[in-house]
């Protein structure tokens, strides 16, 4: 065990420094404790781990490839750029890693109904997928605004047998979907498992989702060692709630030579009121069961986030990111809608890979830094999702008729 490791958080109260915790109504508290106990037992049970490994290999298609993006590297004229190809997973994003883990846990706990929230629809699709796989009824809460801008994913979820409930309260996006999922859970505590899609929510969700996503960083680390014989100089990922970034970063936290960069959605700009940059422009507070950085007004009311990307359109962020931000281990930067759209197009043309608009934010930051780095240096990107779901909204922004 490494002394002073950054990989031992959270503590017994589910805290990463001052962040995290379990801020939920009493009705849910016993369930959270039950979940924590069940997860702790599963974590060290070889049978559970074997089952998880089986589905990740044969159903998800792991390990995902590590791709040397040679043309993009040449185009940007600096560091070597590698993509960890999470977009090649079944359902087209990293989200399924966590869904497989949690549904196996739900089955172990004897739960017979699954609920989830979704923003871009990637987590909703992944949840609907694993529910179809195991024959469990599934209800997905999705902001009405997101239902409109992510129609292909809504259709996918329904095709997979899920009920999709449009949420029109509040800003009708991800945070409101999460509120309604929690309300459903409170009303159906005995049979229902809440399958949270990101590293947020009450403990143990942030740690559990991170653990299920760590396979991204672990595989990438080994693959890069094989390809280059060394660790990356930069590991970079987009952050909304932050699950793909946490999965990539965590296995590198104790490697001081690896610079970690999380890219927030700066929307119309960090200094406008239209962004989703909770670390760069928010302050600590409590929402959705955990203490973390939030976009909020002077009275502690939550402010609606904005991003071109539905998956980043959230006014909070996972508590472990809040802690890594405060201690300075990870740099969190902002990328605007326009910059992300430019990266979306560049990556499509240069690599033949259409990235998700979420991931495009991280690529846009690579466009800013790759040229400033040496040709012997390495940037590792988590290609967290594919952009097929985004072609309608991207076309609208780019003025194309479909």
């Amino acid at each position: 065990m490494i002394v002073n490791s950054l990989r031992h958080a959270p503590d017994a109260r589910g805290r990463f420094g001052e962040f995290g915790g379990r801020y939920v109504a009493e009705t849910l508290m016993p369930l959270i404790l039950e979940l924590e106990a069940a997860y702790e037992a599963a974590k060290t049970d070889p049978e559970f781990q074997n089952e998880l490994a089986y589905y990740l290999k044969h159903y998800v298609g792991r390990p995902s490839a590590l791709w040397y993006a040679e043309r993009l590297t040449r185009e940007l004229g600096g560091a070597k750029i590698y993509f960890k190809r999470e977009e090649l997973n079944h359902t087209g994003a990293h989200k399924i890693n966590n869904c497989i883990g949690q549904i196996l846990l739900a089955r172990r706990m004897g739960k017979t109904r699954i609920i989830a929230e979704t923003g871009a629809g990637q987590h909703g699709v992944a949840t609907a997928t694993v529910c179809a796989l195991f024959g469990l009824p599934c209800t997905i809460y999705m902001g009405a605004v997101d239902v409109e801008r992510q129609k292909p994913n809504v259709f996918r979820m329904k095709l997979l047998g899920a009920e999709v409930v449009p949420v029109s309260s509040g800003s009708a996006t991800l945070k409101d979907a999460m509120n309604d999922a929690m309300r459903d859970w409170v009303a159906n505590v005995r049979d229902t498992f809440y399958l949270i899609g990101t590293v947020a929510g009450p403990h143990p969700y942030p740690a559990m989702v991170r653990d299920f996503q760590c396979i991204i960083g672990e595989e990438a680390r080994a693959q890069l060692m094989e390809a280059e014989g060394k660790l990356p100089d930069v590991a970079i990922a987009c952050v909304g709630g932050g699950s793909n970034a946490m999965g990539l970063f965590h296995p590198f936290l104790d490697e001081p030579s690896v610079k970690l960069i999380g890219v927030e959605a700066a929307g119309h700009g960090l200094d406008t009121e239209q962004h989703a940059a909770s670390l760069n422009r928010g302050r600590p507070g409590v929402l959705h069961g955990n203490r973390t950085y939030l976009l909020q007004d002077a009275d502690g009311q939550i402010i609606e986030a904005h991003s071109i990307s539905a998956g980043l359109d959230y006014p909070g962020i996972g508590p472990e990111h809040a802690w890594l931000h405060d201690i300075g281990r990870v740099d969190y930067v902002g990328v605007t809608d326009d910059e992300a759209l430019a990266a979306f197009q560049l990556c499509s043309r240069a690599e033949g890979i259409i990235p998700a608009l979420e991931t495009s934010h991280a690529i846009a930051h690579i466009m800013k830094i790759a040229g400033t780095m040496g040709k012997d240096q390495i940037i590792l990107l988590n290609m967290s999702g594919r952009g097929d779901k985004d072609i309608f909204s991207a076309a609208k922004y780019l003025g194309a008729e479909l």
Binding site: Y23, A25, E26, M29, N179, M182, A187, A298, Q301
Partner: protein
């Protein structure tokens, strides 16, 4: 003796249960809230619970959610809510006021300052929905210093083993969330209460108030037969939306009559 303890002691002596109606602050404006507070007292309210609007009220059903949104649109802030209590207290120094809300606005205000200011304007107790026993050390010291009761929620999911932890540091009364669900939806039956309330009585000497899903005088009467207080929220907000302040006060009077008669009938 605190105002809350005083009210329950007096009611207990006369064999009565308390009526605790709910007002969402600033729904739809400040003047309406103030009129409701005074009018509710005149029509039989023993204690009043005031909701502090929040953008993301996760334990609340559609009725209180939209009431909170109207309150925020009317400019509700925690400062504003405390100001409302301050003004109410100028004409009423005897009816206990309990504030119900979510943690984030209180954190933003500053826990220490909020407790001090709340006590100063005459608030008697606090209910913070998303602050379970595990995190309560955040609030208990400052609330205690300012003699504010911290009223804890107990749910049907709270096990006997867990009850002592939940009740530790709680004062004023215990708020029994009588159903697993959000506010204003399902209603607990008499059989549910006959099963659940004795379980609580065995764990605490504090008065027990029942909320979530208590809507009619008949339901309030059932609650009064088992518990020490009935909390009514969503039904009154719906009346306010549909009709007006006078209609809410008519309902409060009917609820109060239901509660008073319940104990008489049982005795």
């Amino acid at each position: 003796m605190s105002r809350i303890a005083g009210v329950f002691a007096k009611l207990r002596a006369s064999g009565q249960a308390a009526l605790i109606p709910f007002v969402e602050a600033y729904d739809p404006d400040r003047a309406t809230s103030l009129a409701l507070l005074h009018g509710m007292v005149a029509n039989g309210a023993d204690i009043i619970e005031i909701g502090m609007p929040f953008t993301d009220p996760m334990a609340d059903g559609p009725t209180i959610q939209t009431a909170g949104r109207r309150g925020l649109l009317a400019g509700a802030t925690l400062h504003g809510v405390l100001g409302l209590v301050e003004e109410f207290r100028r004409a009423n120094n005897h009816t206990p006021i309990v504030l119900m809300g979510y943690l984030n606005p209180i954190l933003s205000y500053g826990v220490e300052k909020f407790c001090a200011d709340a006590a100063k304007v005459g608030v008697d107790g606090l209910i913070v929905v998303d602050l379970p026993a595990e995190e309560a050390d955040l609030l208990l010291p400052d609330a205690g210093k300012n003699r504010l009761d911290v009223i804890r929620l107990v749910a049907p999911t709270t096990s006997d083993e867990r009850l002592p932890l939940v009740l530790e540091g709680s004062s004023g009364f215990v708020y029994y969330v009588s159903i697993t669900g959000i506010t204003g939806t399902r209603t607990a039956t008499a059989a549910d209460l006959a099963r659940d309330i004795p379980r609580l009585r065995a764990a605490t000497d504090l008065p027990i108030a029942v909320g979530f899903g208590v809507r009619t005088p008949e339901q309030a009467a059932v609650v009064a037969q088992h518990a020490d207080a009935a909390i009514v929220a969503s039904a009154l907000i719906e009346t306010l939306c549909r009709e007006n302040v006078a209609a809410v006060l008519r309902d409060v009077k009917a609820l109060s009559d239901g509660i008073r008669n319940a104990r008489k009938a049982a005795a």
